[in-house]
């Protein structure tokens, strides 16, 4: 064999060996950053002899755009529920029939048949929570169980409020504050929404995502925020409380989906089944600090989460809340215009 032949053979052997390694035990996860418990991953890797790699994304839109382009090499992703119908509609995911999986029976009753994925044909619960108001009660003692806390704030909080700049969440909150509904397109309500936001803006000190350290350090005294973030804040400063605005809160969830062009379908399904085991789901919750939609996982939750007010949504709040959905493009355009107007 001449040197060219040898090289070719070597190349073939190498290709074969990596190819086999692929088939044997790899799983490529595409997920939000700082959201996956390393211990849980380690347990999965040890149990199934699968090597897991995780790549971060920072928004649903980024994730969607990247997966749409193809050639990404990921097997599973965790889009938010409002985006899941889009992923299904665009044929980016494949059916898994979560209910038929071994641990499928563990999905909590209220998440068994969600509107965004009827019958759980495509997705497995990962994490879920709410968007509400967080207040440092050292700064303001009064009740903060209304969106007024950030939109029409008391004197003590003026100039010390942060708003997490998620356009849809903020406009939803202002819409509910004025008695509107989710994806509201009624012009009279939207006019009030715009005016409220414009009037409230001078009372805000910032519109930022990094709320945990700034609430704890006292740069902010109140913020709109996700419940898991609020829990992390309270654990570091007991004066910080999470409030459910009486007008209603947005309930969201992120769910695991199997991508159409996944190369490691079996490992992906193993992982999805693994995540529906209450103990594993609780392990993950202990890390990201959100609930997980798996019945029975409460028993394995860390003590500081078991009856945390941030995690357990009161029934009367739940009744007035909305499940996050993707609004139609026309509504989205109105929202973008209002949002631009507010930040111009």
């Amino acid at each position: 064999m001449n040197w060219k032949g040898k090289l070719a053979a070597l190349g073939l052997a190498l290709a074969a060996s990596t190819g086999m390694a692929h088939a044997e035990g790899v799983l490529n996860i595409f997920n939000w950053g700082n959201y996956t418990s390393p211990e849980m991953i380690k347990k999965f890797e040890d149990t199934y002899k699968v090597k897991v790699s995780i790549t971060d994304y920072d928004s649903n839109d980024t994730a969607l755009a990247k997966i749409r382009q193809g050639g990404h090499g990921f097997d599973i992703a965790m889009p938010s529920q409002n985006y899941i119908p889009i992923w299904i509609e665009e044929g980016l995911v494949q059916e898994i029939d979560a209910a038929q999986m071994e641990n499928g029976k563990n999905i909590a009753e209220e998440w068994k048949n969600p509107p965004f994925d009827p019958g759980r044909k495509y997705s497995v619960p990962w994490a879920l929570g709410t968007v509400g108001v967080v207040v440092n009660t050292d700064a303001y003692k009064g009740p903060a169980d209304s969106w007024a806390a950030v939109f029409d704030p008391p004197e003590e909080l003026k100039g010390k409020i942060n708003i997490v700049p998620e356009m849809n969440d903020v406009i939803y909150a202002a819409t509910k504050y004025h008695g509107g509904k989710i994806c509201e397109s009624d012009k009279d309500v939207l006019r009030k929404v715009r005016d409220t936001l414009l009037k409230a803006k001078p009372y805000w000190v910032a519109m930022e995502y990094s709320t945990i350290e700034k609430m704890v350090a006292g740069d902010f005294k109140a913020t709109s925020d996700w419940n898991g973030s609020a829990l992390r804040q309270r654990l570091r400063n007991p004066a910080i409380h999470y409030f459910y605005p009486k007008e209603g809160v947005l309930v969201w969830s992120d769910n695991i989906v199997l991508l159409k062009d996944a190369k490691n379908v079996e490992n992906a399904k193993l992982f999805m089944n693994f995540m529906m085991d209450p103990e594993n789901a609780a392990m993950n919750s202990a890390f990201h600090r959100y609930a997980n939609g798996i019945a029975g996982s409460e028993a394995f939750m860390p003590a500081d989460m078991k009856d945390a007010p941030e995690i357990n949504v009161p029934a009367d709040v739940m009744a007035k809340s909305d499940f996050s959905v993707a609004c139609p493009q026309e509504v989205q355009e109105l929202y973008t215009r209002i949002w631009t107007e507010v930040q111009k």
Binding site: T62, K187, M207, Q329
Partner: protein, 306 residues
């Protein structure tokens, strides 16, 4: 035609061909990596938005219309897109102020370095470039630690008893100005230094000998000689600060959009890629105009009298 000149032309032709061949990689990169994507952006700005991001392959001039004009969402009247215009204006203002501040602080710095002896100069230049070694985001967050409510500066002032309660600095215009000046200062100092270094300081001495005041020497001798450096530095600072949004966002609190944020919004939550593309092209046009203005100013050259 003599054989000699024929050989010469052949040699010239070969030389030209070789030069072209040698520049092919660069040309290819420019074509594929710069012109290509730009054309895609231009194309997208003339399409309709898809329902969930992306574009629909259908001609539409709506995006360009919406850059400049808008139909009021409430009473349907047509008006200039004030929101976009005021965001454009804010970015322009920020870029202008940043250029001015870096010039004010960069000029004496560059002068100081240029007038040291050769070995010390190298050390100073080295110090100027150090911030470049760290990522912009990290430097910005570090600055945030310095000026925040319970940050380094406030703690120090409180301990020294100079103030009785922390001065709010973070999330103010002051913070944005400070951050932008800090980040872009080296880009101003380096070209200024490069042109100052070449000054023959005997001319300055001659100026003093002819009874010029210190200010006169600065205005009539140094500034005209350094002008190319001022222009180069201003271009280097102005253009990136026009598109800057990390620094204003992190230090200013993100309450007011910059052009960069506005464009990002269209590609992200706004799901209107054509509008984002049109806004990007509009931004580029502004940069081009600014650049032409500078270059024309530069080519006029010579010491100005006034």
């Amino acid at each position: 035609m003599s054989a000699a000149s024929e050989a010469e032309t052949r040699f010239e032709r070969e030389d030209t061909r070789r030069r072209w061949l040698l520049s092919t990689p660069a040309l290819l990169i420019i074509l594929v990596a710069a012109v290509g994507p730009l054309l895609v952006v231009l194309l997208y700005s003339f399409l309709a938005p898809g329902s969930y991001g992306d574009v629909r392959w259908q001609f539409s001039s709506d995006a360009w219309f919406n850059v400049f004009l808008e139909r009021d969402i409430f009473d349907d009247t047509l008006a200039p897109a004030w929101a976009h215009l005021s965001i454009f204006w804010r970015s322009m203002k920020l870029a202008f102020i940043t250029t001015l501040l870096t010039l004010v602080f960069g000029f004496p710095t560059a002068y100081f370095i240029a007038t040291r002896d050769e070995r010390t100069r190298e050390i100073w230049l080295f110090l100027i470039t150090i911030p470049f070694w760290t990522n912009l985001l990290i430097r910005t967050f570090a600055l945030q630690e310095v000026i925040r409510q319970e940050g380094l500066l406030n703690t120090l002032l409180l301990k020294l008893g100079l103030i009785s309660q922390p001065i709010p600095m973070l999330f103010t215009d002051f913070a944005i100005g400070l951050g932008m000046t800090y980040v872009y200062l080296p880009l101003m100092v380096l070209p200024l230094y490069a042109s100052m270094e070449r000054i023959d300081f005997r001319i300055v001495e001659a100026g003093y000998d002819l009874y010029a005041s210190r200010f006169g020497v600065l205005r009539r001798i140094i500034v005209p000689l350094v002008k190319p450096g001022i222009i180069a530095g201003s271009i280097l600072v102005f253009i990136p600060s026009l598109g800057a949004y990390v620094t204003p966002r992190v230090l200013g609190g993100g309450k007011s959009m910059m052009l960069g944020n506005l464009i990002e919004l269209q590609f992200g939550q706004g799901r209107n890629w054509p509008l984002g593309a049109a806004l990007s092209i509009a931004l580029m046009a502004i940069v081009m105009i600014a650049l032409l203005f500078y270059v024309r100013n530069a080519s006029r050259g010579g010491p100005t009298h006034g």
